[in-house]
């Protein structure tokens, strides 16, 4: 499995890296040719140096670490709670009909506007960031997994019911496995949302973390730092996604694939 996994991935990964390097090269050349204003767009060279600087000063691990910690808990809480709610709504359509409109309505709220309330309830410690992150993640899981719940093959449910399966067993044996593709895509989207939530959470009060760093750099027109943070984020997120991919390969083994 793992050997196969590596076999397919590594070449694609190399291609990805090559592509990114090519883009950076063009960007750098454009900068040197004076076609790109480094004040707005920085340059790969400056960004590289900046990342090295953050690395050697140890700033990176401190800030990245805290943001990922917030995001991690946000993902867990939001994911678990969203999944649970999806199942509850799936089982109880009446509750769904009553509460879903309100929840859908809340999905569109500008979470930043909730800052003062979050601070009031959860303080300015790590809790409020985790809550912000969890809230963003929650909706993704809730909507997706609820849709997955509604998409379950009725025949399979009936089969398990006929074999004496109770509600809980039906969920475990039929609904949950059939929701796995929906769960995995929620994980993928949720990964991004959790980081975004943590960063937005840091906007409402922080003294460390990537969000704080980005905000701080943005406020002082240090575009290089902003882009350094963004590049770091992209790399980290993309690596985490390999984990989701790996899970996908492993869990969805039973699914026949196209090509």
């Amino acid at each position: 499995m793992s050997a196969k996994f590596r076999n397919i991935r590594i070449p694609a990964l190399i291609q990805t890296v090559l592509l990114v390097m090519a883009l950076f090269l063009i960007w750098e050349l454009a900068t040197r040719a004076g076609k790109v204003d480094t004040f707005f767009f920085s340059s790969p060279n400056l960004i590289g140096n900046d990342i090295v600087k953050m690395w050697t000063s140890g700033d990176i691990s401190k800030h990245v670490g805290i943001t990922f910690k917030e995001a991690f808990y946000g993902l867990i809480y939001g994911g678990v709670f969203g999944t649970l709610c999806a199942f509850i709504f799936g089982m109880n359509k009446k509750l769904h009909n009553i509460l879903f409109p309100i929840i859908v309505g809340m999905n569109g709220l500008p979470k930043l506007a909730l800052g003062p309330l979050l601070i009031f309830w959860f303080g300015i410690g790590i809790e409020s960031k985790i809550v912000m992150s969890a809230v963003m993640v929650f909706f993704i899981f809730l909507f997706n997994i609820y849709a997955g719940y509604c998409n379950v093959d009725v025949t399979l449910i009936n089969a398990v019911r006929m074999m004496g399966g109770n509600q809980w067993q039906i969920i475990r044996k039929v609904i949950w496995p059939s929701c796995i593709p929906w769960f995995l895509v929620s994980l993928r989207t949720g990964l991004g949302m959790s980081i975004m939530g943590a960063i937005v959470g840091e906007y409402i009060g922080a003294n460390k973390g990537l969000g704080w760093m980005i905000q701080n750099a943005g406020g002082t027109y240090n575009i290089t730092r902003v882009i350094s943070c963004i590049v770091l984020l992209i790399i980290l997120m993309a690596s985490l996604d390999y984990f989701v991919k790996f899970l996908e390969k492993k869990i969805l083994r039973w699914r026949p694939t196209v090509d």
Binding site: F120, G205, N207, N216, N222
Partner: protein, 329 residues
């Protein structure tokens, strides 16, 4: 847990000889609050048995943690106490760290060089209630334009000003700090009104002084923790003294722990502040400065009631601090 820790009373702290935890919020880390940051980096807080934590609150509301009791002190502009006081919350300004108006009004040259030329244009501002908008309105009125009809004043993120100027989306913006002014000028900006110039500011607002950068706390907290407040204010007063006695270079170096990787920018901003004599000498406010703040508040539409000075300021801690400091010297 966190909440409980920050709420530990000063009495307990001294008893157990453990550093008392204090949280100070800030809307951004700005060098015009330098004395307060210096109180941290130079160890004045620590000497007083305080463990201070600065929290940047950029989105949402930087005042909220203080009003909600999650933080004990807040760094803000003077307009904030004006607004919340009218809304029925009781807060007091304890220290002012700047003494002159720090903004400038800058147009994008070469097309726009005068205030009149801005007629019918878009000017990048903050939210209507924010002080940059108020300052722009004051400048426009001063230049003979009607701020409500002659220009459009969209609110913009601070960080988007230069981009918007550069690609022609706005014709002018408020230069709200030395570094930004510097950058705007470097990108083809034209100085329309330099509020940092005492003469100019006096002409527009009727005052030479303007104590914008302040630290505040709620009345409730001040009443319940007078010793802690005293310690904090004393440390800040020390910071004020230090700023006045040291060079730009020294201040920048001292601030650096709280301003990582920002040395270059600090040097520019602090030099600019020094040049325009923005740093407060004693941390106190002036009557004319307060009047100017009220006037600017009217431009922002945030002053709708009488707000007597004594509802805003409580400088008794500062006076005590200065006394002890002077005695020591």
């Amino acid at each position: 847990s966190d909440k409980a820790r920050t709420k530990t009373t000063s009495a307990e702290a001294t008893k157990t000889n453990v550093h008392q935890k204090i949280t100070i919020t800030e809307p951004s880390r700005g060098e015009l609050w330098a004395p307060i940051y210096l109180a941290q980096t130079l160890g004045y807080f620590k000497e007083a048995g305080l463990e201070v934590d600065f929290q940047t609150v950029t989105g949402g509301d930087p005042g909220a943690p203080v009003l909600a009791g999650e933080a004990q002190f807040g760094l803000r502009g003077i307009e904030m106490p004006l607004i919340v006081t009218q809304a029925g919350k009781e807060v007091k300004v304890l220290v002012s760290t700047s003494q002159k108006f720090p903004y400038a009004f800058i147009a994008q040259g070469p097309k726009f060089t005068t205030i009149e030329s801005l007629k019918g244009q878009v000017v990048g501002a903050s939210t209507p209630s924010g002080s940059p908008t108020a300052w722009i309105k004051a400048c426009l009125s001063y230049g003979g334009l009607d701020p409500s009809t002659d220009v459009q004043l969209p609110s913009m993120q601070n960080s988007a000003y230069i981009a918007a100027m550069k690609n022609g989306n706005v014709a002018a913006v408020c230069g709200s700090n030395g570094y930004l002014v510097n950058k705007l000028m470097a990108n083809g900006g034209v100085m329309l009104v330099d509020g940092r110039d005492t003469e100019v500011f006096k002409k527009i607002m009727g005052s030479e002084t303007y104590e914008m950068y302040i630290m505040f706390a709620t009345d409730k907290y001040i009443k319940e923790n007078p010793e802690t407040v005293q310690k904090v204010v004393t440390a800040c007063a020390k910071g004020i003294q230090w700023v006045n006695m040291h060079s730009t270079e020294e201040i920048a170096d001292a601030l650096l722990p709280l301003f990582p990787d920002r040395k270059e920018e600090l040097l520019i901003s602090i030099a600019d502040s020094k040049k325009h004599d923005l740093y407060s000498k004693d941390g106190k406010h002036t009557k004319t400065g307060y009047q100017a703040a009220l006037k600017l508040g009217e431009y922002a539409g945030i002053v709708t009631q009488e707000v007597p000075e004594e509802k805003i300021y409580n400088e008794s801690f500062l006076d005590t601090a200065r006394k002890t400091l002077n005695n020591k010297q």
